[in-house]
């Protein structure tokens, strides 16, 4: 299944002069093929459609399942670049590409495996209260460090688990949500960028770096004002990059930032509060919505797991579409509890 942003009710759109679309044909459908960035990208498209009066209610739906060999087929045909320039090289898939990114990041900024362990272990702690998380046991540092190597320096617990699953949310005006008695959150600001920094030899930053000032100034908040953060955690190094690029610390200070926080829901800097993909699982096309939907659950006080205390604002970010060596798409949103 593909991510689909389904426009349920078109407003009155004049077509062919004064005619408008009849009630029975009020459907529109937009496909958002941006992988881990698709949740926020879909929310942006939906919000613009609502703002422009093209639609009253937009449902953003994404889900996936696995069949025999479907993961290998997905990797081998992910993109033309993947097919030509990385799949023939040992076919490690995303593990290999992110192993190279992780190794380069470790060489450049002195991150250690223990730092990535901290992210994975904190997320596992958060996931223990989620009933349908794939990983249900506490992860210890020993288990993390001695796990099976996959593509050095990536080991087993740095990798997400492909699984079946789906996520969805609705975008509409606040008064419509209220009239339907739907709990809601407010979108304070969003950013989106594709193919930033094509000349970096290996990826050490995402497009967030170019837009982050705009994101925070539009939202009226500062990094210290958000109560929790949902990053895209296909591999822990990408979460660490996001801490830097989203303004929580300077480039290269990611490892030190991780060491100075608990990253758990009950501690300092709650991060990936449902356990993220590293503990809940990566539901194919649903992956881009996991953090976004969890953020909405936290801000409406209906989490599946533990609640972040006094959660009133958060930052969610997305990342996706690795070509042959780097992820192309980055996006982020600042959300707040409805007034």
């Amino acid at each position: 299944m593909d991510l689909q942003c389904r426009v349920l009710r078109w407003g009155r759109i004049p077509q062919w002069g004064s005619r408008s679309i009849s009630a029975s044909r009020r459907d529109g459908l937009i496909n958002i093929p941006f992988g881990g960035a698709s949740g926020i990208v879909a929310m942006r498209r939906a919000a613009r459609a609502v703002q422009a009066g093209d639609a009253n209610i937009v449902a953003c739906v994404a889900g996936d399942t696995n069949h025999v060999d479907s993961f290998r087929k997905m990797l081998s045909t992910f993109s033309r670049f993947a097919q030509d320039a990385v799949y023939p090289y040992g076919s490690g898939g995303a593990n290999a590409s992110f192993a190279l990114i992780t190794k380069n990041y470790m060489n450049s900024y002195g991150a250690k495996r223990e730092d990535f362990a901290k992210i994975c272990i904190a997320q596992r702690d958060d996931a223990l209260s989620i009933p349908h998380a794939m990983m249900k046991k506490r992860l210890t540092l020993d288990e993390y460090m001695s796990a099976r190597p996959i593509a050095d320096p990536i080991h087993l617990f740095d990798c997400v688990m492909p699984c079946a699953g789906a996520e969805a949310f609705i975008v509409c005006r606040e008064d419509i949500a209220k009239s339907l008695n739907l709990p809601s959150v407010r979108i304070l600001s969003t950013i989106e960028r594709h193919n930033a920094f094509p000349n970096d030899p290996l990826q050490v930053r995402g497009g967030w770096e170019l837009d982050i000032g705009e994101l925070w100034s539009m939202s009226g908040l500062k990094p210290k004002d958000v109560d929790f953060v949902e990053t895209y955690d296909d591999y822990p190094v990408i979460s660490m990059m996001q801490f830097e690029d989203l303004g929580f610390c300077a480039k290269g200070e990611g490892p030190e930032f991780v060491r100075s926080h608990t990253l758990t829901n009950d501690g300092t800097f709650p991060h990936n509060t449902s356990g993220g993909q590293l503990s809940v699982g990566q539901a194919g096309r649903g992956r881009g919505l996991l953090g976004l939907v969890e953020a909405m659950r936290q801000l409406t006080s209906q989490p599946l797991g533990s609640q972040v205390p006094n959660a009133s604002a958060c930052l969610v970010s997305g990342f996706g579409m690795i070509n042959y060596d780097r992820g192309l798409s980055s996006c982020a949103a600042v959300l707040a509890r409805a007034a």
């Binding site: 040992g90 076919s91 290999a96 590409s97 192993a99 190279l100 099976r148 042959y324 060596d325």
Partner: protein, 161 residues
Amino acid sequence: MTEPLARPKRKDPLKRTRLPLRPQDVRSRTAHGLTAAAAEGRFALQVCLDCNTVIYPPRDACPSCLSARLPFRDVARGGTLIAETTLRTSTEPYFRERTPWRVGTVKLDAGPVVVAHLHGDAVEGERVRLELKLDKSGSAVAMALPERTPRTWLMIRICVR
């Protein structure tokens, strides 16, 4: 005059027979230019006729000026191995039977970044030279070798095939 062929040892019938596998040979139409170069022992990448950008992976439009005039031309093969990894597992059966397998990211002096198979003596952080080779499937792959080949290695088979 010639030694008769030795009869192969009987295979243990309980042991799994290794299947004759190939790495994936599917490439885009444009990427076959790499295979043509590899077959002639050349190191050729696409070079934009309008802005001289050296391009990899193969494309149909220049990423810098959008020109469509992108013939394959011999380019400098030197570069630096900026990161390496050793694959311990693989989704592809051919490689699964051959792990551990090293691959790495090479920043070419000519411009682009190439993911390549690594020769056993290619060292992270050091200079390498890239060659285009035909792999078992008959398609081109890039292989990173140490910049200079010591004399002793000349006796050693270094190609992938």
